[in-house]
């Protein structure tokens, strides 16, 4: 009886954990994608000079979101696999400071690409199941 109760509790814990992970990841990916899209639009709008208050604010907004989510993401995935996106954030900030449009576009494209890649890396996905 005690064993059965332990198994039921374990099952509940695992289902809760899996559900929480799935919801968190879905929410995280869609938010990251939206925020990256917004940054991309703002950068394109300020094509002439990207070192503006508006661009910096939207990049900061994206960066804060990433930093806040990163610690939780590390519970679900290997840190090594998400390390490169950190580099892209640093490069993005630097390129904006130096008003380097092409580098900024390149890095925001990398971040957007990561939001797609995360779909396969984290959460439930039929492609990674088999």
């Amino acid at each position: 009886m005690k064993r059965t109760i332990s198994i039921i509790i374990l099952t509940i814990i695992l289902i809760s954990f899996a559900t929480f992970e799935e919801l968190f990841i879905q929410n995280f990916i869609s938010t990251l994608k939206n925020k990256a899209e917004q940054v991309s639009i703002v950068i394109n709008k300020n094509e002439e000079n990207i070192n503006t208050e508006e661009v910096l604010k939207s990049v900061d907004n994206l960066k804060v979101f990433w930093e806040d989510s990163k610690s939780t993401i590390c519970y679900f995935t290997n840190y090594e696999k998400i390390k490169s996106i950190d580099e892209s954030f640093v490069k993005l900030s630097t390129s904006i400071k130096h008003n380097d449009m092409s580098l900024a576009s390149e890095n925001i494209a990398v971040i957007k690409d990561y939001s797609e890649f995360f779909k396969y890396l984290m959460g439930f996905n039929l492609n990674t199941l088999f």
Partner: protein
Amino acid sequence: MITLIIRSIIVYCIVLFAVRIMGKRQIGDLQPFELVATLIIADLACIPMSDSTIPIAFGIVPLLTLVILHHLFTLLNRKSINFRKLINGKPVIVIDKNGINYSALKKLNMTLNDLTEGLRGCQCFNISDVAYAIVETNGNISVMLKSNIQPVSNENLKIKVEEESITLILVNDGKIIKENFCYFGLDENFLQPILKQENIKNIKDVLILTIDKQGEIFLQEKNKSCKTLKAGIPK
């Protein structure tokens, strides 16, 4: 480094819990699905212990999933004969009154050497002494000797013997095992006259003290030789 130490402690506790919850079978008695679970668990436990970039959940979640799966398999194994046959297979008679069943041996991927080795493990050194040999689902070989070879029992000789009784440990390395006293309807005061008689001042000086239903006591003090005593115990 501290991360690895804490992770190792967590993983060790969880594997211990997993093995505990999976039951008390000996390694040699494992059924195929139990062996599979044991092998995978050992490997899973190592992954997050040695690499701090991998989340500990990568080890724990599959491990706990295996525990649940194992429990489910055990339950089905207990409830359904067909499932048991499918997962564990069934015992196979490899020696019968016609001798060695070679086709059964082939099906089991066993050689004659494996068979004779198994028989020797059952203290049977001569195949002609064997009436039946069965390879059990866990891989063990059970042997039934021919009637003329089987050891003589008390029943064969019509000898009346006293009812067998379990021997319980009352004191283990200076510590009283309270639950064993109840089994024979005794209490801890039972030890006092024995200790006094043997001139033992402190219970901590006793290495081991056992008793059986006939009241036979085996007593050994630490760093001294053992003694056998007789005591009356309530029926």
